[in-house]
Symmetry: C2
Subunit: 356 residues, 2 copies
């Protein structure tokens, strides 16, 4: 195991203030290593239980009458600006939760939404967001069944925050989880990386970035149904949101205790996203996506799943990008176009604040 | 029906700014009439479905394999200060959601928590809150199964906001809902009113109010089990949180299309809460509680439920305070100690900001 041949590299991060051990800093919300440390040091320390400790974006639970398994997922959404090219915080909230549920192979059924509104938010903006939530809920085929609204004084919030929780139903016998990747499995991505992060960053307007890139925010449950039909042995499904593809694959490598090898030349990135990223010093592998799917399947099912995905709205640009290996368990590494091997660590602090 | 004999009165409200039709104002988060109008004009307009439109604090849903009914409830918690006599925002969040689930007669099973943290929050404070959540989750007998953490820049939040969603299981045949109150039913309250609101207001320190009143924040699911065992025909259970007893009973009167008559002399209020309320111009009937239970049962079960409740930790000060009548459907009115009849409207705007 020639570890010395690996070039270690980490996604560009903002400097982390020195006081990060004592107070919350932006990096704690990045979805990267600082978020993981906070979860382990504070939340798991107290909340620890077998369901939570499984470490997925969803909780698989049983209800007392025994027949059903449920998938439960929750997310807080804090994007700035709240309306951006391709979507808004409402669409983001519904899609994010639908997708988390669907990643367990569950059929998303119900969603709840709690709103924290800042005094002064135009009611017309709230209506636009509610309408957008309903439209995407209909596309996904779920019902918004409960809600709550609170208002904070001006200057104590940021327009609107939405927390959504989803409840999905897991058909008997379905086992899709982050700890089921096996050496020999292949890794597929459903489309181009980094679109959401770059679209939101450009919409913020404070980096002088002009681009026509739209957020990819989308509900992936129908795409996932297509994947499962084509590849019944699907081992892992995961959406590369905060922290991007690299961070998400690191989580899977750790959960499954396997190595993950990517091939840089096969990873799809739009030209505009690539050039905006280079300009700003970001790496598309660490930028958040909100409508992309990582599929990990046995080699025997790769062709079937790729050809099925190519016929769907949200999977037409899918690509085979890597494989699961038994060397370097817990690590993600990439054969670069230069022929070298680069380690892709989990993102450490924050790269792009408030994009999902 | 001598409506003219009724003296109309409404809980004291802050002036509502003129622009309230166009932008969000604090009153939209009060739990009173403005909140109801916002829900109807914006959220129901788009999200409308049979489950949501039932108008309870919980959603009763079915899952595909047919055997189980679930109760789902969600709440955003924004209290200021985040730590107050008798509790903190974490205890408030877990209790609020446990209680909403239990109000449907459900057995609370699982809870999710999403955190929006403001940059600069001391991690020791977050730990204290997490510990408090776990303690009360254990008391209630539920598991925290999924979570999410996001961070906003300093000045875009207020320390910590917590949104919780609960999933409970409703045993077959159990029907407890806000639309089931019937003329002849009796109304019981589990203890003194207004403790939470006054405790939080005093802790805020900006009204020069000094008091030893503690918040009543508590998980009520075990008390509710006692009530259901003693009174299997229980029609309605509801916790009088935002908007207080008066607003909550108005909701029930509207849902059940009945009148609700209270007797002022029987309504329990601590002396300290009464005097603080008089000093500040508040009415304890409109102040939020976080550990009180309204029970509506047929007359035949009143004695059984009162004597069972008196033996519990959170119900020892329970009282019979009124009855359901067929006159004035949709209205709540009270025989005062002066012998007059006072209409108790739903609270219009806000009375106490940010207390639950």
């Amino acid at each position: 195991m020639a570890q010395e041949n690996l070039i270690s590299f980490q996604g560009p991060v903002c400097p982390v203030p020195l006081q990060h051990k004592d107070t919350i800093v932006m990096g704690h919300g990045s979805g990267g290593k600082m978020t993981h440390d906070l979860i382990n040091l504070v939340f798991r320390k107290y909340f620890s239980n077998a369901i939570l400790d499984a470490g997925n974006d969803f909780a698989n639970v049983q209800i007392p009458d025994g027949n059903g398994r449920l998938s439960i997922s929750t997310d807080a959404h804090i994007v700035s600006p709240i309306i951006f090219p391709g979507g808004d915080i409402g669409k983001l909230a519904v899609c994010g939760t639908v997708n988390d549920m669907a990643m367990s192979g569950a059929v998303p059924l119900y969603i709840t939404a709690s709103f924290i509104l800042e005094e002064g938010l135009p009611i017309a903006t709230l209506e636009q967001i509610a309408q957008s939530m309903q439209e995407v809920a209909q596309e996904a085929g779920i019902q918004i069944v409960a809600g709550d609204t609170k208002v904070v004084e001006k200057g104590k919030g940021d327009g609107i925050f939405i927390s959504t929780t989803g409840i999905g139903w897991i058909p008997d016998g379905r086992e899709i989880r982050g700890d089921l990747a096996q050496p020999g499995d292949r890794i597929i991505i459903s489309g181009t990386l980094g679109d959401h992060g770059i679209a939101v960053l450009a919409a913020r307007g404070d980096l002088g970035l002009t681009t026509s890139v739209q957020s990819d925010v989308a509900p992936l449950n129908h795409l996932i149904q297509t994947v499962i039909n084509a590849a019944p042995q699907t081992h892992v499904l995961r959406d590369p949101t905060r922290g991007g593809l690299a961070t998400t694959l690191n989580e899977i490598a750790l959960q499954s205790k396997v190595g993950i090898q990517l091939f840089e030349e096969t990873i799809p990135v739009q030209n505009e996203v690539q050039s905006a990223s280079e300009l700003l010093g970001f790496d598309p592998l660490y930028i958040a996506n909100e409508g992309k799917l990582i599929v990990i399947v046995p080699e025997a099912e790769v062709e079937a799943v790729l050809s099925a995905m190519k016929n769907t709205k949200y999977g037409e640009n899918c690509c085979l990008i890597g494989e699961v290996v038994d060397k370097y368990p817990g690590r993600v590494f990439m054969k670069t176009t230069l022929g070298t091997t680069r380690i892709l660590d989990m993102m450490a602090g924050e790269m792009l604040p408030r994009i999902c």
